[in-house]
Amino acid sequence: MSFTNLIRVAITAILSNKSRTLLSTLGIIIGVAAVIIMMAIGQGSKESIRKEISKMGSNVITIRPGADTRGGVRQDPSAMQTLKMSDYESMLSGLKYVQHVSPEVSQSGQVVNGNNNTVTTVYGVSPEYLSIRLWKVQEGDSFTDEDVRKNTKVCIIGKTVADELFPDGQNPIGRTIRFKNIPFRVVGVLKSKGYNNWGMDQDNLMIAPYTTVMKRLAAQNYFSTINVSALSEEMSEKAINELTQLLRANHKIKDGADDDFTIRSQQEIMETMTTTMDTVTLILVVAAAFSLLVAGIGIMNIMLVSVTERTKEIGLRMSVGARGRDISRQFLFESIIISLTGGLIGIGVGYLGSWVAMLMSLPASVPLWSVLLSFGVCACIGLIFGYVPARKAALMDPIEAIRYE
């Protein structure tokens, strides 16, 4: 039988039993929609993580003291003191792929202005920190290298801190606030970044010269982090190599010995997160895919019933010259059309569901490949689960089939 005839015969058969067809497509519709929604949420989350991270600077490289602790080994406290002033200073010149460098020391504690107080973290950094982390000063100014040299007690405050300490809309610029009883003069207020994806308030911070924080607050001569920005995202890898060599030389680490510091690019952090997202998505999609399997079995069941019901028709077709393969194709086409129709509707429902998820402020974006994949999977389901019924039909004996009542 020709292709167009096959399709016509299949569609006629499908339409002659609409309610049954609807029921057998229902499973596919639900399964495909579930897969698409899961993938959309997975993809959406990944995209929003990526956006979040690029807001924090996609070319950022973070250097921390101590060996790579991803293995989970506890380290000697002295191992956490390996990033020294000399390391920072050596990075300021002679590196080809590095744009900005800023050391970092942080302290958490209460900050007070008159009767108002809040708990925040003060980051001791150099002025370049703002460029690295893409902070903008909205009011006032940044502190200067001069302030760093002189350990001036000045600070820039985040929007949240400003709102907490100056609730009546007073201008914080020029005012003095106290962090752990040390007075800091406010020179600037940062432009708000809002909450990040994990619900953290990114505006609850103070930024001050690292020299001030080290001397007045932390009383330490090592850094907890050195923040670096590569010339571009693509050059992160090269910058990391450069920094690794420099630090190994500084720390006189012998060939073959482990680093006493850890360098991570923002990209790596992003990859770790997206990998986790991928795993979660995969688990969800597999769960949804099982419903497709069940739907396929449903189609097979209904096709088997249909083959038995139409035994006489099969016998008649055979008696006028249908070959086994004509008959099996007829039923295969039927099951494929059923599952593809279900798939198409399921894709539509999936889009709708993703849209609803977005309305509920879940990040969701339907990846095109998941649509194509679902479509392909449906075709396969029709083929695989239609095979058994189609074969049963094809192997019927024409004489017995035509006598069947």
Partner: protein, 249 residues
């Protein structure tokens, strides 16, 4: 002039295994049927008529013996080859019509040609319309099978058997479900086809029908008991005219 042999059976046997028992449905049947013959096959119930017709129609294969259809040996053919043979050389008419439900007359008649890819959709339809006109249903093309009388359905079935221009038309009790009058209408039709030169094999219980054919084969217990030419073929049209009119009852 030597007539062309359409069907040749040589000592055809067909056994069925029912549990541990063997049923000998055909115990060695041999005959030749020539082009243009109208053969009736008679015999008591269980004598093997349907089994024989299934052999002739390539729906089944002999346990032993040879069968040549239009010169082609059928016995060792594969299922799919026999299907093609049925499609091109045979027209089958069944006792209970066997039309596709909820399908129009034309579509039913088109069915065999659907499995013949050498026909285009247009040719298929034209052939179907021609066949329906030949059985006098030119005005019932779009009627669905459930909107027709038994006689009309059987005509559609006959048109379907004609549409592929087969070497032989096989009918198994084609008038068995019809009343006397309609049966005669069918006979008129078969006689018309016979006059047009078609080869017809007609299985029946009704000895009267044998009088309208050109040859009659009688089976008993899977063997041929009698095989006679009919030199005095009655005209079914006359018989039909002689029947009491329906309004006279």
């Amino acid at each position: 002039m030597e007539k062309k042999v359409v069907i040749e059976l040589r000592d055809v046997k067909r056994n069925f295994q029912v549990g541990s028992e063997t049923v000998h449905a055909l115990r060695g049947v041999s005959f030749k049927i020539y082009e243009g013959e109208f053969v009736t096959i008679m015999g008591t119930s269980g004598s093997g008529k349907s089994t024989l017709l299934n052999q002739l129609g390539c729906l089944d294969t002999p346990t032993s013996g040879e069968y040549y259809l239009d010169g082609t040996p059928v016995k060792n053919m594969k299922r799919s080859q026999r299907a093609v043979l049925r499609n091109r050389k045979i027209g089958f008419v069944f006792q209970n019509y066997n039309l596709l439900a909820k399908t129009t007359a034309v579509e039913n008649v088109e069915l065999p040609l659907m499995y013949n890819t050498t026909y285009s959709a247009k040719q298929r339809r034209e052939a179907a319309i021609k066949a329906l006109q030949a059985v006098g249903l030119g005005d019932r093309l779009e009627h669905k099978s459930n909107q027709m009388s038994g006689g009309q359905m059987q005509r559609v079935a006959i048109a379907r058997a004609l549409v592929n221009n087969p070497a032989v038309i096989l009918a198994d009790e084609a008038t068995g479900n019809l009343d006397t009058r309609t049966s005669f209408e069918m006979l008129v039709l078969f006689q018309k086809l016979h006059r047009e030169g078609r080869t017809i094999i007609f299985v029946t219980h009704n000895p009267e029908i044998a009088q309208y054919s050109s040859r009659n084969i009688t089976l008993r217990d899977g063997k041929i008991r009698e095989d006679v030419e009919n030199t005095n073929i009655l005209d079914a049209a006359e018989a039909l005219a002689a029947l009491p009119k329906p309004q006279d009852d």
